[in-house]
Symmetry: C2
Subunit: 344 residues, 2 copies
DNA sequence: CTGAAAGCGCTTACAG
DNA sequence: CTGAAAGCGCTTACAG
């Protein structure tokens, strides 16, 4: 158990440039120049200053530097994604794009609450972030934040304002890639079990899938997408229905990895060989959902980290004075595993 | 596709208190007092200043305020938890504890790389965070950051230095609670399939489980914990072994929800009724892993949000001059579902 | 090569 | 009640 401590043992305040200068016997201006590698500082002087700084563990106060520089080297990541499914890979991509340690990221979770979002926004602007990345919890368009004193990039969920810069996964293409993969592995009678039809992600993936089928002169088995919910349970229920009504089905394209898990379970229970008789595919390539499946699940990876890196790049460009506008879609990729290809 | 824009349409710089004062026709000092609710400002003056501030969307520069106040109202969350499994609930608990918007959080992912951690640490100290929360990726002790100019609270993974303040989930008690629940629902022949024995979490949970059994005059079926890996696959393999070697087993306590999923699958395949013949329990209560299981999985919730809130409270106390020391364990709770109790 | 001075945006005693 | 002055920690012309 932690025990309370006396508050009197007060923590030493952080060292200041003035402390360094005093210790090195130079002026604050000279100390500044010495530490920042400016010209016209005598080597001996520089060494004395650097040693003094090290001795007292001097770390320059970024706040003071920022106030002079007019930029803070911070960005705000405003998310509504409680699971961190999107925002964490995006954060990671962003850290990479900014260059490790160059930029620090404030992470704020608005919890899908507009009031809380405004609150965080106000705080971030007060802290003079150089820019903002806004991460939605799905790919449906979200209200723009409007005109702000700093650039904004919308990631995952696009802004409603086409003048804003938005980076979203290409769900239409994801659907196309999925069907192309199934066709390439010899499938012709493909069913599509997806999630909640109110999600753009579900409709976009279906649109891409249908387009790819049409290009091959085919259509979905049963003639329609079976929309439902983003759950294993729906995956199981719909798979039963598909198998009962479409005996010739040779592939089930599932709108998410969770739905695909449900499909795999039912196929296994009914003794149907995967991928021998029926192939199964998911979307998202969510490692934790996929790692245990039998057989390992083929899935479309939406490349969240790349998306995050791209969003960060756009933000850096915008901060540098070259903003972009409109919605940019990011390519995705099929990760082939045993549920669609023997020996994969 | 976003199109590049001319960099000349430069963004208007953020309004400053000087702008407000000019617009309201008062001095900067008076404007400051008016906006901060200080006494001795004429009501008319205050109104003029407030109106001016609103008109130009003035947001005070927190950097300047921080430099004077000596505290920034920011904390750093230094994590090694790539999945966000722990750090996001902890972040959320921390946001709550700090009071929404009072405190902004820098999230830095060190990716289990000591160099990167030092880099982020340096940046955070430069930004003069008021304190740090360090989140580990497991409950094994991690090296202390040593003495820093700001207070530090270690969450999930305790620090190796007992003088530091660490908040960890009580895995021993979790094991005890799990077994007590199984005993209370009439189980006597309990097997324990767990993850990698090198993890303190695995050993602690097992220790708690064995203690609870001993208190009831019992021991584990087979006399030992079956350690392996934190995977569904291991859950399946170990469950087969348990069923083959211990025909009378009436409960399988699994070291994680993933292991438990594997156990449930095998029991189902072998036609064994859950929970009629054999109960199954997991640890972590990871919603996304659990939501699809049949029957729904009983699991021990480690209360990460509470842990995060507690860590944040300790940090706030330490910032306020009342630091705590030592390792504090947080209670967990059993969430009962159908895998151990009919009709739950 | 070094340092005094000005200044970033703000707040807080202190005169008036 | 109001405002000029000092100052937080730093950097950058500008004199010397």
């Amino acid at each position: 158990m932690p025990a309370g401590d006396d508050a009197t043992a007060s923590r030493p305040r952080a060292a200041t440039l003035r402390d360094v200068a005093l210790l090195a016997g130079v002026s604050v201006a000279t100390a500044s120049k010495a530490l920042n590698g400016r010209d016209n500082v005598h080597p001996d002087t520089r060494r004395r200053v650097v040693e003094a700084a090290e001795r007292i563990s001097f770390t320059p106060n970024s706040l003071a530097q920022a106030i002079l520089a007019g930029s803070t080297g911070t960005v705000g990541l405003l998310t509504n994604d409680l699971e961190g499914r999107f925002s964490l890979p995006i954060l990671m991509g962003a850290e990479d794009a900014f260059g490790a340690g160059q930029m620090s990221v404030f992470l704020c979770d608005a919890r899908d609450d507009a009031i809380r979002e405004q609150y965080h926004l106000k705080a971030l602007l007060g802290r003079r972030v150089d820019g903002l990345i806004v991460v939605g919890s799905n790919t449906d368009p979200r209200p723009t934040l409007g005109t702000l004193p700093v650039p904004v990039v919308y990631a995952y969920a696009p802004s409603t304002d086409p003048q804003d810069c938005s980076i979203v996964p290409d769900n239409v293409h994801a659907g196309t890639l999925a069907v192309e993969h199934l066709l390439a592995t010899g499938r012709r009678r493909i069913a599509h079990v997806s999630g909640d039809v109110r999600y753009a992600a579900a409709r976009d993936r279906a649109a891409g899938a249908k387009a790819a089928l049409a290009a091959a002169g085919l259509e979905l088995v049963g003639g329609q997408v079976r929309y439902g919910s983003w759950s294993e349970e729906w995956g199981r229920a719909a798979t039963h229905t598909v198998l009962d009504h479409e005996p010739g089905v040779d592939a089930i394209l599932c709108g998410s990895d969770q739905i695909a898990r449900g499909a795999l379970d039912v196929l296994r229970e009914r003794g149907i060989d995967v991928p021998g008789a029926v192939s199964v595919m998911g979307f998202d390539n969510w490692e934790v959902m996929i790692s245990g499946t039998r057989p390992p699940l083929t899935s479309v990876d939406m490349n969240f980290e790349t998306l995050g890196r791209r969003a960060a790049q756009h933000l850096v460009d915008a901060i540098g004075g070259s903003p972009a506008h409109g919605v940019e879609t990011m390519p995705c990729r099929v990760v082939v595993r045993g549920s669609t290809a023997r020996g994969a």
